[in-house]
Structures are given as C-alpha cells and as structure tokens.
Subunit: 334 residues, 2 copies
C-alpha cells in the first residue's frame, strides 16, 4: 500500500499523471467482501443501527447525526459535533458512495467500511461510548434487536463484529446513481449543459482527474498530498497544513499531509470543503485546488464551468423507509 | 380555562372523581384546526422540517433529535440535550399522539401543536436560533424548500406561521393505533392477557383514570397538581417539586406544581419518567403515582398488573418514508 501510494504521489507531484480512464458512470451496486456478504436482513438491521442514537454515550448522536442520510450524507458543518457538543478538527465526509472509497476516514486509516464503523462509536468526542463491551451490553439490553441480529447473522451474538458488519452492509446500499453526469456518459447528451461539458473537459485538461478519476472521482490512488504546493498566503487563511493527515496516525514523516482522495460525487451538497471544513463555497474550493495541487490560476469562467460540472455529479438518493427502532425497555441508560 | 382546571384539581384532590368515560380506542385521525387544514403537501413539508437539523443554530438538532420518530417519540433521556450539549430541567414528552393533547409542553403553556412548534427552535438551550427571522432567512437560503412551501401553502411565503403549521400538520399524522388495548376494546378479548385485564381494572378502581382518561389517557382535565400529596421521603430522592410547573410561566402561585396530564400511550417506550425524568422504571413510576396522587400503597402484584396493562398501550407506529431534505447550496451556515 505504501509503495503504491508513494508512486502515485510522486507522479502527481511531477504533474505527469495522464487521464487514465474513460468517463465512467457510477455502478448501482457495490461489491461486498467475502466475509460480509450483503443480505436484506443485514441491510435492514444496519439501517436501524446507523440511525440509533443509543449507540452514543448521551443517547443523542447516531451515525446519521454527522453523516446524515436525509441530506448530502454529512452535516454541512466545518467540523462535526459529537456528544456533549464536542467538536474535533475534521469535517464529516459524506456516507453517500463511501462504498466506493478505497480507504475510509479523511486520513484513510480504515481499510473497509466495517473497520470505519468501529471507530466513531468509541471516540470520546464523537459518540463517546467507553468501549465496545459497553456498546454490546446496551444493544443486548434492547430486546427488540435480538430477532434482527438473528435474521441477519443466524446464531451469531451481538458483537462489535456483527454491529459493524450490519452498518457496512447498509452503507453499501447508499449509492446515488443517475446524476446528470451519469446520464450523459450513458449516452444522453442533453443531460449536461454546454457549460457543464466545458467544465468536464476542463477538469480533464487541467489534470484534476489525475487524482479524481473513476466512477466516484476518487481514484486511481488512495492517498494524495494536500497541499501539494506550499502556499503561505492560503495557509494563513485556511490552516490546511496544521493537520498532518495520515502522519497523525502513522507517525511516519513520509505520510505528512497525505489524505484520502475524496469523492466528488454530490459535492455541491457537502459544503463546507476540505478536511478541516475551512472553505465555505465550491467555487473557492475549486480555485484553491487548482492553485495548491496543480499550480494553476483559473479564470472566473473556468471556475464557473467546473462548478457547473460538479453540480452535475449530484445523483438520485435511494428512497428509504424510516426505520422503527426497538424500544428501550422500561429503563433508561443515562 | 383556569376555572375548569381548578375544579378538576379540587375534585381530584378530594378523591371524588369517578371514572367518567367508557374505555375508548385511539382515533386513527386527528382533527386539524380551521386555520390549518391538513393536506398531503403540508404533511410532507412538515416531515422534512421536523427532521431538518438546520433549524438549529449548530445544524445538529432537529425536532426529531429529542422527539425521535424512530423511537418512542422522545429521547429516553432524563432531560433533553439541545445545541452544544446543553441540557434543561425537563424530560422531552413524546410526539406520538401529541395531536390528542389538549395543551402542549409539560406545563401546558402552548394551546396547540402550532404554538408548541414555535418554541424550541428559538430556545437557547434547545435549538438555539436567535429568532424566527434567522430561521426564515436560513430556510429561504435553501432553494429546494421553495416548491414544497408553494405546494403546501400556495403563494404564502416561508414564515414562522407556515413553518409551524407544516410541522403541526405532520405531527397530527403521528398516531399509534392498534395497541393490544385498542384491539381489546374493539372486541378482541384475546388481545390483552389476563394480567393486563387485571391491571386495566385496577387502574379504574384506584382512580388513575380520574385524570388519565379518554382515548389517549390524558383527560378529562388539562392540568393536574403533582405531587398532589406532599411526601418528604420521595421529594428528597426525586426533587419533583423543585420545578413549579405552570407557575414558572404564569407566575401565579395558584399554578404551582400544575402539569399537563400526560398521555399513557406508548409509556413503556418512554422511560425515564416524570417531568424531570428522575424515575427510571415504569414499575417505580406506577408505585410513586399511586402514593403521591392517590395516597395508596400498591402491592408488588398490583404494580406488575398495572405495568402489564400499560405495556398494552404500545401501538403501531405508522410506516414512514425517510424524507430527503433539500441541500444546503454551495455554502455553509456555520
């Protein structure tokens, strides 16, 4: 992994990555891993757990609180707010199409949706549970969950493993196909406006697609350095480099300021932008990316064209039923 | 209103209120007021607004955060948690069947669902918006709301009036019929167990139904004094009298410790209990109510029978679709 990453980074820094792939439409289904095949009962249970605030210490924060499935899959905040009003240093990434991320979290420290789902629940400033034993004990106290776990996992007990597998199975269904862009690449040439097509061509011409390629615009590499080109003027305004990205976890200086390449899908809905949510508008985000990653100054028209194209990446949200969560029986947890 | 209330209180205190009504099933529809007739577009918009955390200063608290429509209509917390992790002194009442409350809030200070909906949004420890001008400006900035308001209200603008009317219209659909009790009174004598029928008879015999009568078990009076019978031992444990109820608003000593008679519907799902959420279990709540309101000591068996009956008041939650909220367009609010 580290070898591939370094190679991609080096190529991108040298400005030599070509637009590898054709324009791809978003798949309507995501593959599930061999040890967690998707089934309907698992998805249904996962949807319940994803929306259950009782997975947090205060009973007020569910996965959906920060990765809101009624909105653009996140919270439109610069940094997320967890239990007791606490905030961290990073902006919540969207859950929509997270199934197509090669790694999860801004710093890519989780290799799968299952691994990711195991994180926030016990993070003291996110969902604040002491440990997974406490999570499992609480879920076991909610009797109505038992048949759902049995249907999803057979005889397997309620555990960190089954909880995170169910949540991941649900998240694999959170796909937003049929954006104007998808309809365009499927052959409907009227699906994008002329301005959007100009923006699409500009994105390729500038080299944005060197990193933001593939159907979710988040490949081919997993990681990228940001900012790639140091810029004191913008650093003073946005403090992008304060957070060392992957190096905060790996403690490896080579990983400093490496970040997961985020999807561009539904990006019009997920302001504010960047890992620290410091940029409020999409036109500013585009301007900064061109400058800090590609060393290019865009004209106002070019920015407008690219933003118009990015608007065309907003897909259709799947229609979901609202889950009914099993009741807390006759007692409370706080 | 005050005259009726005083009369009911006096009668209840004298222990002379008889069980006025027959056992009533829950209506499946709630009447709407003349100035806010329910229509489908209004309900759909109301559902969106009810679940939209952007109605709070932090973008993290929606109506559903404390009155959770995926659970028992509240948050299973002793006191609700609003923006920035702040807590107040009262437990969130359930939204299920709130349409059948004669007055709203624990202290009954709102005469309608519309009036209630106008409160928490600008309460500094609940949803924390500065004022309704700010709420309206924010909703106007979310372009996708406009067609929904037009469909619901014709040419009327986005305003406190239309927002609260839409939310109230949605809340009038949050009815939970078909509980075992409802099926029993409709003629299915197998719907309640023998123990539950014993509990039902006990509830009438003790006089609980003097206040908790009618289909939602929240009538005939609007207000009741609690605790009706002072008890230093329990006061030291549960601090029921610290909060003066309606008098906190009216500043009238005659209103001290007057509370809305809360519904018993779905009470098995809404622990912890009482206005300050100080009692964790339903059997303790039943024991305390008998002692503090009726001056009676119940046996363990009587408590178990009544709790079994109350379990029979858990109804069927309507199947809802998950709303898709219009996106925050290209900028953020915090």
């Amino acid at each position: 992994m580290f070898k591939i990453r370094s190679l991609v980074t080096a190529l991108a820094l040298a400005g030599s990555v070509s637009v590898a792939s054709a324009w791809d439409a978003l798949p309507t289904q995501a593959d599930s891993p061999a040890d967690n095949p998707t089934n309907a009962a698992k998805v249904e249970l996962g949807q319940m757990l994803y929306h259950d605030p009782r997975l947090s210490s205060t009973g007020t924060v569910s996965c959906s609180s920060c990765h809101n499935t009624m909105l653009g899959g996140e919270d439109n905040r610069s940094v997320a707010m967890g239990v007791n009003g606490q905030t961290g240093g990073r902006s919540a990434p969207t859950v929509w199409n997270a199934a197509f991320n090669k790694v999860q979290f801004w710093d890519g420290r989780a290799a799968s949706l299952e691994e990711q789902a195991g994180g926030p629940v016990t993070n003291p400033i996110e969902m604040g549970m002491k440990n997974w034993d406490e999570v499992v004990a609480r879920l076991k106290s909610i009797e109505g969950y038992k048949p759902h776990f049995e249907q999803a996992f057979g005889k397997d007990l309620i555990s960190k493993d089954t909880v995170t597998k169910a949540i991941a199975a649900y998240e694999r269904t959170l796909i937003t196909p049929d954006s104007p862009y998808d309809r365009y690449v499927a052959g409907d040439k009227s699906a994008l406006t002329k301005q959007q097509v100009r923006g699409m061509e500009k994105v390729a011409e500038l080299g944005c697609t060197g990193c933001h390629s593939g159907p979710a615009f988040n490949g081919p590499g997993m990681f990228q350095k940001f900012p790639a080109i140091p810029n004191g003027y913008f650093e003073a305004q946005y403090h992008f480099s304060k957070d060392k990205g992957l190096a905060e976890v790996s403690k490896n200086p080579a990983d400093e300021h490496l970040w997961k390449v985020p999807t561009l899908r539904n990006i019009a809905l997920t302001a504010p932008y960047f890992h620290n949510g410091s940029v409020k508008t999409l036109d500013k985000a585009v301007t900064l990316m061109a400058k800090l990653q590609l060393g290019k100054d865009l004209s106002k028209e070019e920015v407008a064209d690219i933003v118009a194209f990015l608007d065309g990446l907003t897909g259709e949200f799947p229609k979901q039923k609202m889950p009914t969560l099993p009741g807390t029986p006759g007692s409370t947890f706080n």
